[in-house]
Symmetry: C2
Subunit: 392 residues, 2 copies
């Protein structure tokens, strides 16, 4: 699988995080790319999020570069806006780009001043290191409590030839993206106009990053960016739009699942499927309530088929449903039928729940057409260990 | 401190829970008492909750007895409604009471059939054991994962003489009462008409049990009942209403705090104060968002003054506020001023955060008159241990 044409990547250690591990990364498109983004809905949005939004507006959805740092969220600080702008300006100047075509993203601790000199001083070396081969390196540089990098690629035989998509993401905690997740960057070499690109990103995001929660805490820095630079020489035809959107959605779902699987302390990826809700939004709210219940997540950690907690969590979603119409399946085994206990072999199901992939299906009989899938992880003692002293 | 006059209490082991520990309890008023209740808003309400609501309606707010079992929630079972009614009927028959004056409450596992014979067989012995002295014993019989009983009493020198209130509650997990908590029973010997009693319970609950969360999971069985039997011979005068309401609110807050302090795995009681919101409801939503953030709760467990997580959680509440107007105090120490880091001594504050009582103050400057307090607990590895295998 080849990466999209016309993109280069680089990273280096700028001294932002304590551990000596690359913490500054750059993604550059050789030519101006159509760009679209979705961002956190947290009322306390970080400075880089606000600058990204301003730049996308100013440039009418065109970008050349994404500058990313890990180790500091550049959020709730006195100098946040200045630091974000100074970083973007230096990156633009060194590469002779319009500053509005440089997007920025940050992840790390909140409320600690970020020294812009660390970034501006490290930038020349980062730029010198830009190469089409550093995709994987950059996916590591943006990690915080992640235990592994998260990437996905796809290829489409479109009218006129092959176009490619490659995406990377990071995040393990403070994850319940309302629009996007902590950080996600997706590149394609198809030529797609900014307006179309934006519409496709919104739709694909709705069924992927917006269906993800590790701990129910929406971050201040959520940023998902999609760049389309046309380097393949292929303009996405109308008849290929649906296939491309499907491929993009699948790629984003793949990345979202990787985040859930690598959730802080997680041992299991949980896929929650809801069927029979009034509409997609109701299905998502039901799924989210189940995904965010600490009692459901700890039961799965203990391989305990405690479906009572699942129906209880759904009952708290604010969505109306008749419990007597509910069937619940764990690992494909019906544990609840018409809202009541269904017979199943406890030891068999416990063994199945020991697997690394757990499915919860919540079906409302005689309900509406609303359905969705949602991804989360189990909740273990390690989540507590990781988070009881992250800052200090 | 004496208990309210005219109430008797009893409990015994009926074999509902595996461990041989009293699991069936009865509270009886010697004369018909005014009765009011608030209940779970979970869409999956347990059978005893529904029967309680029906009986309060049928009796126009009069009750003689509350029958409580622990070890089985009598929720999401085929026979739930029948079991609840059969239990109430037997208790009524044995004591020659109208069945609508018997209220019922259950707590324990969800989705497991409850054998009504266990209850009806044990009832004669329970009734034989009724005594004004068994208040404490009953407060132990209703416990599930609680590590200690939770009671509170108060006394008021009202016009005409002394009236008393005594309350008990239980709960350690699946706690975010939207109207009440898992179980709470409050008795007073004042004479108060059902309508007034209902209004007072609603108002007092709003500032106590509705401001409590252990894990954000609203139970299917939440029930808070208040009985006023008039055995003191004193009818609550209009001019004493406000004082009585204040006393009732304080008593319920005391019980709610006891639940938070005994939250599953908890080592610390966290009191969250919000000031400067538009109104009380907005203040409560901000406080609830902070209280339910696993990242805030784990930071407090680790004595980590990570205020960035607090402002991030508030930003997710859905309530509009200007981050630049926010001050945050931990243990009375300002850690955030105008949305930015305030200077403080890290080792001093860490030492203060090691205490068993932790306060978080979230103040919006130049804001509205909305304020409230909210109680929760820290989130430790023991919460996970307790919940990974509660059912099995």
């Amino acid at each position: 699988m080849k990466l999209p044409l016309g993109f280069r990547y680089a990273s280096s250690y700028a001294g932002i995080r304590k551990v000596q591990k690359d913490d500054l990364a750059l993604i550059v498109s050789d030519t101006p790319a159509s760009a679209a983004g979705v961002f956190t809905q947290n009322r306390v949005a970080a400075a880089p999020v606000r600058l990204c939004q301003a730049h996308l507006k100013e440039s009418s959805g065109v970008a050349r570069a994404i500058l990313i740092n890990a180790g500091n969220a550049n959020c709730a600080t006195r100098t946040g806006a200045k630091v974000a702008l100074a970083s973007a300006k230096t990156a633009a100047k060194l590469q002779k780009l319009p500053v509005s075509q440089v997007l920025v993203a940050s992840t790390g601790v909140i409320g600690v001043e970020l020294d812009p000199k660390l970034i501006t001083a490290a930038l020349p070396a980062v730029i010198a290191g830009l190469s089409p081969d550093n995709f994987e390196t950059v996916s590591r540089a943006i990690m915080t409590t992640d235990t592994r990098p998260k990437t996905a690629t796809a290829e489409l035989s479109a009218s006129g030839g092959v176009i490619r998509i490659a995406g990377m993401t990071k995040g393990a905690g403070m994850i319940m993206p309302m629009m996007a997740t902590t950080l996600g960057f997706v590149m394609t070499d198809a030529a797609i106009a900014p307006n179309r690109l934006r519409a496709m990103l919104r739709e694909a995001n709705e069924e992927s990053f917006s269906r993800l929660s590790v701990d129910g805490d929406t971050s201040t820095n959520d940023t998902l960016l999609l760049l389309a630079n046309g380097a393949s020489g292929i303009k996405l035809a109308s008849r290929d739009t649906e296939v491309f959107l499907g491929m993009l959605t699948k790629l984003l779902q793949d990345l979202a699942q990787q985040i859930a699987r690598d959730g802080e302390g997680a041992t299991k990826l949980i896929t929650i499927s809801v069927e029979g809700a009034k509409n997609r939004d109701d299905a998502a709210r039901l799924a989210r309530a189940i995904a965010n219940s600490p009692l459901v997540k700890t039961a799965i950690a203990g391989s305990d088929p405690n479906w009572g907690r699942i129906i209880c969590a759904a009952g708290n979603s604010g969505i109306a449903f008749d419990p007597a119409q509910v069937d619940i399946f764990l690992q494909g085994v019906r544990v609840c039928r018409n809202g009541l206990a269904a017979p199943f072999s406890e030891p068999d199901l416990k063994a199945k729940l020991d697997e690394k992939d757990v499915s919860i299906e919540f079906h409302i009989r005689n309900g509406g057409p609303g359905q969705t899938r949602f991804w989360t992880c189990d909740f273990t003692e390690d989540y507590i260990k990781i988070n009881a002293s992250y800052r200090t």
